[in-house]
């Protein structure tokens, strides 16, 4: 069985890499035709230069401004990944209890309240949620919010001087060791929450429906007849079976989550992929708008890699959770 799984993953991986390569070639030709990465060279030749630079990594190293692309974009990518990780934690930690309470008290006022709340969370676009949270709980100058969280910037950074301590005119330090970890999480809380809310809306509704479906199944009647408490029935039997649909759906949403992370990252100026991407696209050299095609290609490559990984991972998780989907 594990062999079948390995072969399946390998097949998906090879196919995905081929599609990715074709798409990246297409995007290179598309953007290079307009923003010539190499001056006065034919398009196909610059494509060949880019292609030649892939195996030895030269195409991912230097960009238009002779910057080291990997340290420039790679670091930003790491920040975005951290944001995604914390977001996933929030989604799981909030949507599962919400769905369980909603399903257990089906038809009650509490259930209606939760359903309306998750509906609104689902329908409101992420950018508005992010701006609302930033104004409501962040420390914005002259804002009306509570000011519990820093409104912009990564731990130890004050982009454009925002968030500087008015007493000593210094940016609060990021600390070392565990303090640093705490600071990073503290600065990521609002962005991750903003990003998570839409997905909490989606997934708690989804999980509630599959829980209710599971609660009507015969094996639940058996479990109740055995004399299990309602709590044990819900948590140990219904939830476990509802997970089969929930977890793969969650994992396969990573690609969408990445798109949202770009916007949230830009709003909270975290210096992640969104900020870097906009900086790349707004590049201006001597007043001429210019785009670093090599850097753009690297950013697109990283985004595509996340989507590919998520889609393969979700199928693997589904196969692990649900024995019926294993063909062999």
């Amino acid at each position: 069985m594990m062999w079948g799984m390995g072969a399946f993953v390998l097949r998906r991986l090879v196919f995905g890499l081929v599609v990715m390569f074709v798409a990246l070639s297409g995007s290179f030709l598309f953007f290079a035709a307009k923003f010539e990465p190499l001056h006065s060279t034919p398009l196909l030749h610059s494509y060949w230069v880019w292609l030649r630079g892939i195996p030895n990594g030269r195409s991912f190293e230097t960009g238009l401004l002779n910057t080291h692309l990997m340290s420039f974009i790679g670091g930003a990518f790491g920040r975005t990944m951290l944001l995604l990780a914390l977001t996933l934690v929030f989604v799981v930690a909030i949507s599962i209890p919400v769905a369980c309470i909603s399903a257990a008290t089906r038809g009650s006022a509490l259930d209606y309240l939760l359903r309306i709340g998750t509906y609104v969370a689902w329908a409101v676009p992420g950018i508005i949620v992010a701006v609302l949270l930033q104004e409501g709980f962040g420390r914005t100058p002259g804002g009306w919010g509570t000011g519990w969280f820093p409104s912009v910037g990564w731990a130890g950074e004050c982009p454009n001087g925002q968030g500087i301590d008015p007493h000593n005119f210094q940016c609060p330090a990021a600390g070392h060791g565990l303090t640093h970890v705490g600071q990073v999480i503290y600065h990521l809380t609002l962005p991750a929450l903003a990003l998570a809310l839409v997905f909490i809306g989606v997934h708690s509704r989804f999980l509630r429906n599959s829980l209710i479906e599971a609660l009507d199944a015969p094996y639940i009647t058996v479990a109740r007849a055995k004399g299990l408490t309602e709590r044990a029935v819900l948590l140990r039997h219904a939830l476990r079976n509802a997970f089969v649909a929930f977890v793969p759906a969650l994992v396969s949403d990573l690609g969408l989550l990445l798109g949202g992370a770009l916007a949230v990252d830009y709003i909270f100026q975290l210096g992640g992929l969104g900020t870097v991407l906009i900086a790349l696209l707004e590049l201006d050299i001597d007043g001429i708008p210019q785009v670093d095609v090599y850097a753009l290609q690297l950013a697109l490559l990283l985004g595509a890699a996340v989507i590919l990984t998520a889609s393969i991972l979700s199928e693997v998780v589904l196969a692990l959770l649900d024995p019926r989907t294993r063909a062999d």
């Binding site: 995007s27 923003f35 409101v124 950018i127 914005t140 770009l262 906009i278």
Partner: protein, 303 residues
């Protein structure tokens, strides 16, 4: 329970047109009707904006009121921004632009999606494989990343260019839905019957398959409309798209409001107005979509 009682009372069911049935179901869902009504009102108001408000080129600059919260005097109902422009008029023009590009883009995306998905689903084989490869290619990159890059590629982005970009990008989900629906309908008996009567491909497609797929298409188009609104607002939010001075859209108004809240100390009212309108539109679109799913669901066969 209501449904069960009604299906019992309607046992000797007379032949009814599908549209009548859908309408009766819709009437029974007040939420959907209200959402549809609000949405129509918003869209009509947005379409008529240039007829009744001062032209966008000389939007009121009020010298006395810079960055003023909402007030009744002077009818600055949504306040004024940092250089004294009335936010209500800006938001109405934003609605006009956003609505225009969302509706037109949804229409063209739906048409392209129906044609491509229909051909792939009906013909199958090579056509199907070709379409699936193309949709694979489009899905490789995160939507927002690709859209931002394309926006940069096509500077300066106007409202029409944004419409074209969204139409050319978003036919893919529509084509997938139509393909799945058509390829499952194709195997049904009524298509076999039409085939054996000697109907041409064209007749089968337009007279038999398309009407039967119309419910699915309407639902997909509604969700597409919501998707265009969200995606466009998000892309415009970054401020590299349509210039907000010439073409305010809901997205770039929210983006400006948020940016200038930090840079110019502009108040919350600058982004709250467009954000509230966008939220209202999206909640209504989603409610309408859910109601349509209920109403257009094929009648349950009696078991």
């Amino acid at each position: 329970m209501v449904e069960a009682a009604e299906s019992a009372s309607a046992l000797p069911e007379p032949r009814r047109y599908a549209s009548t049935r859908v309408w009766r179901r819709l009437v029974r869902q007040p939420v959907t009707l209200v959402a549809g009504f609000i949405l129509t009102a918003i869209f009509v108001a947005g379409a008529l904006v240039p007829q009744y408000t001062p032209p966008v080129a000389h939007i009121h600059l009020s010298q006395r009121w810079l960055n003023h919260p909402p007030m009744l005097s002077g009818w600055h109902l949504l306040g004024t921004d940092a250089i004294g422009r009335d936010m209500l008029i800006r938001v109405l023009y934003g609605l006009h632009t956003s609505e225009q590009s969302a509706l037109v883009a949804t229409f063209f995306a739906a048409v392209i999606g129906i044609v491509v998905g229909g051909i792939a689903g009906y013909r199958g084989g090579r056509h199907d494989a070709a379409m699936m490869r193309i949709t694979d290619l489009v899905g490789v990159f995160p939507a927002l990343m690709l859209l931002l890059a394309i926006y940069t590629w096509w500077q300066p982005v106007t409202a029409w260019r944004a419409t074209v970009i969204f139409a050319l990008y978003l036919w893919v989900p529509m084509a997938r839905v139509v393909r799945a629906e058509i390829s499952s309908l194709r195997e049904r008996e009524f298509v076999q019957a039409a085939l054996s009567l000697g109907a041409s491909d064209r007749r089968i497609f337009f007279r038999h398959l398309l009407p039967n797929a119309s419910g699915t298409i309407i639902i997909a188009a509604t969700s597409l409309l919501g998707l265009v609104f969200v995606l466009e607002a998000t892309v415009e939010f970054f401020g590299i798209g349509v210039p907000s001075d010439l073409y305010p859209t809901l997205g770039n108004l929210i983006g400006d409001g948020q940016r200038f809240a930090f840079q110019l100390g502009q108040g919350w009212w600058a982004w709250a107005g467009p954000a509230a309108l966008l939220m209202l539109i999206l909640v209504c679109v989603n409610l309408l979509g859910d109601g349509l799913v209920e109403a257009l669901r094929p009648p349950r066969s009696r078991r």
